[in-house]
Symmetry: C2
Subunit: 302 residues, 2 copies
């Protein structure tokens, strides 16, 4: 199960009610921080998520509004007595930034901060474990920028209990069947895997797409992703500014989600010019009805 807790939905200039980009993605109780705008740590606290739970941090690009909250968060992790290494993924220059931070602000953090450079020009798997994968997703912004896709892996198949009884399957047979193999019975009969197994839950996936101007390449790469978060800094009225600054309109976000065949779209990264966000939501919904505004401190299930 993938759950996403939104910490910030503002673009570069925060407002009283809206923080800069940051969210926590929870994939089967593995917690990942995606971008870290200023005050991300207090937002996490408000959302009831301890910084010690965070296994990895994924940074999209090196504009301050996506990383100003990272350094204070590292300090707080240290003060909380963290010992587990923290793995930080992001564009090349984030490495020297982290070194600089450690030289200038703290004598030494008591936990390792391991940096993994992400090639922002490549769509590729950058991490996987037994249950999930993370992919980089090149975006079109003012400077090297990558989105991230979180994909659950297909869980093992379930074996039909009635079949186990009927054919007196051994534990070995059951394990084989879970892996998708056919079963040869002592009688010589072959049980086709499909006839004795079923899939309980299909794997889910989530794409984080911020910051970028509209890209149909992005849409292709996230095709069949279950849920998409896409930036929507402006309404169409400011389409020109959006393009110039490497941002999207709400309509852009909707078009990408529709082309990708997503089930649901969340929009965020709103310009401070919008006190009321309804125009952004309405613009996106007209094209892609299953759209929601990302809301700070709210959690949605993918």
């Amino acid at each position: 199960m993938i759950k996403v807790t939104i910490l910030g939905v503002s673009s570069a200039k925060p407002t009283i009610g809206r923080h800069q980009s940051s969210q926590v993605v929870n994939v089967n109780e593995q917690y990942f921080l995606v971008d870290a705008g200023e005050n991300a740590q207090r937002q996490m606290a408000q959302a009831g998520i301890s910084p010690l739970k965070i296994r990895k941090v994924f940074i999209s690009h090196l504009h301050g509004d996506h990383i100003f909250g990272l350094f204070p968060l590292l300090s707080t992790m240290n003060l909380l007595g963290r010992r587990t290494a923290l793995e930080v993924y992001g564009p090349k220059n984030l490495g020297p930034m982290l070194d600089w931070y450690r030289t200038n602000f703290e004598v030494q953090t008591d936990f390792e901060v391991a940096f993994h450079e992400v090639d922002t020009t490549k769509y590729q798997k950058i991490f996987e474990n037994r249950t999930m994968e993370v992919w980089s997703l090149p975006l079109r912004h003012q400077l090297p920028c990558t989105g991230y896709i979180f994909r659950e892996k297909q869980k093992e198949k379930n074996v039909d209990k009635l079949a186990i009884e009927k054919y007196s399957l051994s534990i070995k047979d059951v394990l084989k069947a879970k892996q998708g193999e056919d079963i040869l019975l002592p009688s010589g009969e072959v049980l086709k895997n499909e006839s004795i197994t079923f899939i309980k839950e299909l794997p889910r996936s989530y794409a984080y797409v911020s910051d970028t101007s509209r890209s149909m390449m992005v849409a292709r790469r996230i095709s069949n992703v279950s849920v998409v978060y896409h930036e929507a800094t402006y309404t169409q009225e400011f389409q020109k500014i959006a393009r110039k600054r490497g941002h999207s309109s709400a309509l852009d976000a909707a078009q990408v989600a529709q082309r990708a065949g997503a089930e649901r779209l969340y929009i965020g990264h709103f310009s401070s010019r919008y006190k009321d966000l309804t125009p952004l939501l309405e613009e996106a919904r007209e094209f892609f009805p299953n759209c929601q505004l990302a809301k700070e401190l709210e959690t949605f299930t993918v």
Copy 2:
């Protein structure tokens, strides 16, 4: 008139309800930011103070909890279209930090950031204009650290209207009297300055004392300051930890304020271990009754 708006009262580890150190000191409508913990800019917005109003920033020392909010604030000033130079005062290494910030986070700010190094070992005047002065105040912390004292200058004397009429004083005479001179009348009579002038308001002063272990040298140097803000990270119970970490207890703060002969004391920089701050207030008040807890988003007049 000096007014102080508190933005943060937490020590290094912020809590949900408390931000790291930061406050705005307003001396006769000249606005100064003193320290800039994370989220200082949103706290300023909450308090209704535009970042464009800030003339100068004074940083006490280079622990992250006192400067993490500075860089995002500079970004926001830029996004707001600031053109006026910002003068930043602080310990030596703050200069390279500001340079690093400008190289890494923004192509270029459209306003000048002028850095003034403050010698944290010297008690001296670091800025003055027609109406006020700022002094550095060496503190005893883990690394070079300075407090700041804001002093109003004595305003011109007022000349008694009845005296002006009675002696038919010329404008020239009045201006002389305002400067404290005696007046020679055409009759040869000399009017003593004290007999025809009065002082409407005595100049006020404010000392910002954070972070430091208790220092009677500090108390001497802030003697006769009207109002003192002094850090009080712990209650006496943790006196040993306080000393070891270069911090003060509430009692320490009270003793310094009392020795300095302050009218009023505000305590802040509270450890996250205190959910309820009453014990800190009670401890300080027992020794120095005119003590208050500094409260975020509240403004007091010095």
